[in-house]
């Protein structure tokens, strides 16, 4: 009796947790929670973006040289892939809100596919820069910061060689952290797709789909900034 009194006599949806008084309160709280988490992520990546800003203003030439060495076409392709994955994610949430269970699963799987394509491309992109660093020999073309970094590949020498290492530290650091967020996101997407297939979501309750969508779009936004800042510096 007291349970009902506490819930105001509302219907007890199976997804409603006991400490909330209504499903709507629960949804609003969950959504706010994810936004606050994203706010924290803004500052997490923000520290790297701030570091980038400081060093780019100090070492514009080395940053330019480093940026030229990256393939803007790969970056362009990957940007379109990720934007596409945001579209499929938004469509997944839309399908959940309109009760189209199979489409939810389909769109989430498409999102995972596009995300995997992105990561696959990144794997090859990294490989070209990292592979020369192994083994004995000249390490020509090695772009991992450290002792084996080959500044001559960027036609740089002297202090600028060190500055270029900072550029590539940021390149690997920022795109690496971004990729890590995608690697974490994909299994979660799989889980949501599975639960969707099992019929857990409805127009009344599909909060987890909304939340994972917010996360995925945020990851997309980070890349929207990474692309021009890393790949397109002064390419005139």
């Amino acid at each position: 009796m007291s349970e009902l009194a506490a819930h105001g006599g509302a219907e007890h949806h199976p997804a409603l947790q006991h400490h909330f008084t209504s499903l709507e309160q629960q949804r609003a709280a969950s959504s706010l929670g994810m936004w606050v988490f994203i706010a924290q992520e803004v500052l997490f990546f923000g520290g790297l973006f701030a570091t980038y800003t400081v060093y780019r203003t100090q070492y514009p030439d080395a940053f330019s040289a480093g940026s030229h060495h990256l393939s803007w076409k790969i970056g362009f392709f990957n940007t379109l892939v990720l934007i596409g994955s945001s579209l499929t994610m938004a469509m997944g949430v839309y399908s959940a809100a309109t009760g189209k269970k199979n489409r939810v699963v389909g769109f989430i799987l498409a999102t995972i596919l596009l995300g995997s394509v992105f990561l696959g491309v990144k794997y090859f992109e990294y490989g070209d820069k990292i592979r020369p660093c192994f083994g004995d020999g000249s390490h020509a073309g090695c772009l991992v910061p450290g002792e084996r970094f080959d500044a001559s590949a960027l036609h740089l020498a002297g202090p600028a060689a060190g500055h270029a290492q900072i550029f590539f530290s940021l390149y690997f650091g920022m795109t690496g952290l971004h990729a890590l967020h995608m690697i974490i996101g994909i299994p979660i997407l799989l889980l949501i797709a599975y639960w969707s297939w099992r019929g857990r979501y409805s127009p009344e309750y599909h909060t987890p789909v909304e939340l994972v969508g917010l996360y995925w779009h945020f990851v997309d936004i980070v890349w929207i900034f990474l692309f021009p800042l890393l790949y397109l510096i002064g390419s005139h």
């Binding site: 400490h19 709280a29 606050v36 520290g47 701030a50 900072i166 530290s169």
Partner: protein, 541 residues
């Protein structure tokens, strides 16, 4: 104050399960608060041991008690443990977790499972860091300055960095939970300006936790990356700037000190009004000043790097902003004092700690202004003046508030009273011990004794000996509450719902509360701290 004999209630949250699983898998915010209480008390003990080692070394001026390397590890261990594993979580994770749902009329926090997760994250971070400290130690100072931490130190920098990184997420998740809870789960009628000031304080604290902690997380990750993968962010040989590390580090670590003090100020607001039997003076000013401290606190960080090689013009800006941030704290102090004025003051232990807080925080805060002045800071920075300044605030302020809060809400948490005479004796010991430890350090700093030095000029010995004597007294002072509070859990007199006759929703529940806090969600109709009218009876179904 209730005077008839009380009995413990039949059902309460402590009785809801006796086995380990019921504690380790709990989602009850009250139990999680207690899990945190045990953990941070343990970490406080470890931090205190490190402090003991530091003060022991400083008894003699020639540094003959231990090697310089060992000393570096001792003060680093003290700082790391006390800052990240005691002060930052202390009040929010224990009292905040326990009280916030009760104070707003909710059955739990918004995300109970994330609450439990944040405790486990804390434990993992603490375990990793302790392992780093025990197997080889850390000698960089709790501030991890580069390039020593990234390129030169041979201590367990990576491991400690990862442990602290992990613990940071515990703090972020706690803050996230509080923000959502306070926005979305207030009882009917509980508008923002009817909230207890304890809740306002934790709301402001949570904003800092969410927006500040990620920056130190990424910064400490960069230190680890530089050590492990030889990235060049802070390496001067490659054009990196060690001062950039300091900027990024203090962007969090300055607001972090407000994470440490704001909750304590929230506690003071609650106690001062109850033990003056008077509505708090300037409620909205105190509430708004908490937000102001949170916001302004993010604008002053570079006052920690005035002499590091940063631009003097920029330093001037930060100096001016640092003066500004003192204003909201001063507003609070005036308002607490005005609350006391013509109040009916009762000298129970919580109130004694309030007086300790107000006086000691005042000293700590004012000495901060010395350090915020560029010219004076050149002389005082990196001396014991700074050490005394922040200990006056962290110990004289934050910990006094923490102890006051523990005593004030102990009857609610445990259902039992502690022995008041022991409370008074301990508070006296703590107060005397604290001042004897840290006041000489103001003088030492002014006279020029640098901090973090293993040995010092002979003429400073007497002040150092006094300081160590004070630390010994302070240590005993802390042992007393640990003993009598623990003892009261088993043998204390049942307290009843509201032994202090205090206002606030938490006092309308039984002591200890039931697992679900409220059987009927209360509807709030009165303004906060309305001590003119009699306290509400507990609502029982």
């Amino acid at each position: 104050m209730t005077s008839e004999r009380q009995t413990l209630p039949e059902e309460h949250y402590l009785k809801a399960g006796w086995d380990l699983k019921s504690w380790l898998l709990t989602t009850d915010h009250k139990r999680i608060g207690l899990l945190y209480l045990v953990s941070i008390t343990f970490m406080f003990a470890i931090g205190s041991l490190y402090a003991g080692i530091v003060r022991f070394n400083l008894l003699v001026p020639d540094g003959s008690q231990m090697s310089a390397e060992a000393y570096n590890k001792a003060f680093t261990g003290h700082g790391v443990v006390m800052v990240f594993f005691f002060l930052i979580p202390s009040i929010p994770a224990t009292l905040g977790n326990f009280l916030i749902p009760l104070m707003i009329g909710a059955k739990d926090l918004a995300f109970p499972r994330i609450n439990l997760l944040s405790w486990y994250i804390y434990v993992v971070g603490a375990a990793l860091t302790m392992w780093a400290l025990v197997t080889g130690g850390l000698d960089t100072g709790w501030t991890f300055y580069t390039p020593y931490s990234t390129a030169l130190s041979e201590s367990n920098v990576e491991l400690a960095a990862i442990g602290i990184f992990i613990a940071g997420f515990s703090s972020i998740l706690t803050g996230l939970n509080f923000i959502v809870t306070i926005h979305k789960m207030r009882a009917p009628g509980l508008s923002w300006f009817r909230l207890p000031l304890f809740v306002w304080a934790h709301y402001a604290t949570s904003i800092i936790q969410v927006l500040g902690t990620p920056v130190i997380a990424i910064t400490i990750l960069l230190v680890a990356l530089e050590r492990i993968f030889h990235f060049g962010f802070f390496d001067p040989n490659r054009g990196g700037d060690p001062i950039l590390f300091q900027h990024l580090f203090w962007f969090y670590s300055h607001p972090a000190v407000y994470i440490m003090i704001l909750p304590s100020m929230g506690v003071i607001s609650e106690i001062v009004t109850c033990f003056s039997r008077k509505r708090i003076f300037g409620y909205s000013f105190i509430a708004m000043s908490s937000l102001a401290i949170a916001a302004l606190g993010f604008l002053v960080w570079a006052h920690h790097l005035f002499v590091s090689g940063m631009s003097v013009y920029s330093a001037m800006v930060f100096s001016a902003l640092s003066f500004l941030v003192a204003v909201p704290s001063a507003i609070k102090t005036f308002n607490w004092t005005a609350t006391l004025y013509r109040g009916s003051v009762k000298w129970d232990t919580p109130m004694i700690y309030v007086f300790c807080f107000i006086g000691l925080f005042l000293i700590g805060g004012l000495t901060g202004l010395f350090l915020a002045s560029l010219g004076v800071d050149v002389h005082l920075t990196d001396t014991y003046f700074v050490v005394a300044h922040f200990h006056y605030i962290m110990v004289g302020g934050a910990i006094m508030g923490y102890l006051g809060g523990l005593h004030f809400w102990w009857p609610k948490i445990t259902g039992r009273k502690y022995v008041e005479a022991w409370g008074k004796v301990s508070s006296l010991l703590v107060f005397v011990g604290f001042n004897l430890t840290f006041f000489p350090q103001f003088v030492l700093g002014y006279l020029g004794m640098p901090r973090r030095y293993h040995a010092y000029p002979e003429e400073f010995q007497i002040l150092n000996v006094l300081s160590t004597a004070g630390a010994t007294i302070l240590g005993f002072g802390y042992l007393f509450p640990f003993s009598y509070l623990t003892h009261s859990v088993f043998r204390g007199e049942p307290a009843g719902d509201n032994p202090w006759g205090a206002k606030g929703l938490e006092w309308t529940t039984q002591s200890p509360p039931t697992t679900h806090n409220f059987d009927l969600i209360p509807v709030v109709t009165e303004e906060p701290y309305d001590y003119a009218s009699p306290p509400k009876e507990a609502a029982r179904v």
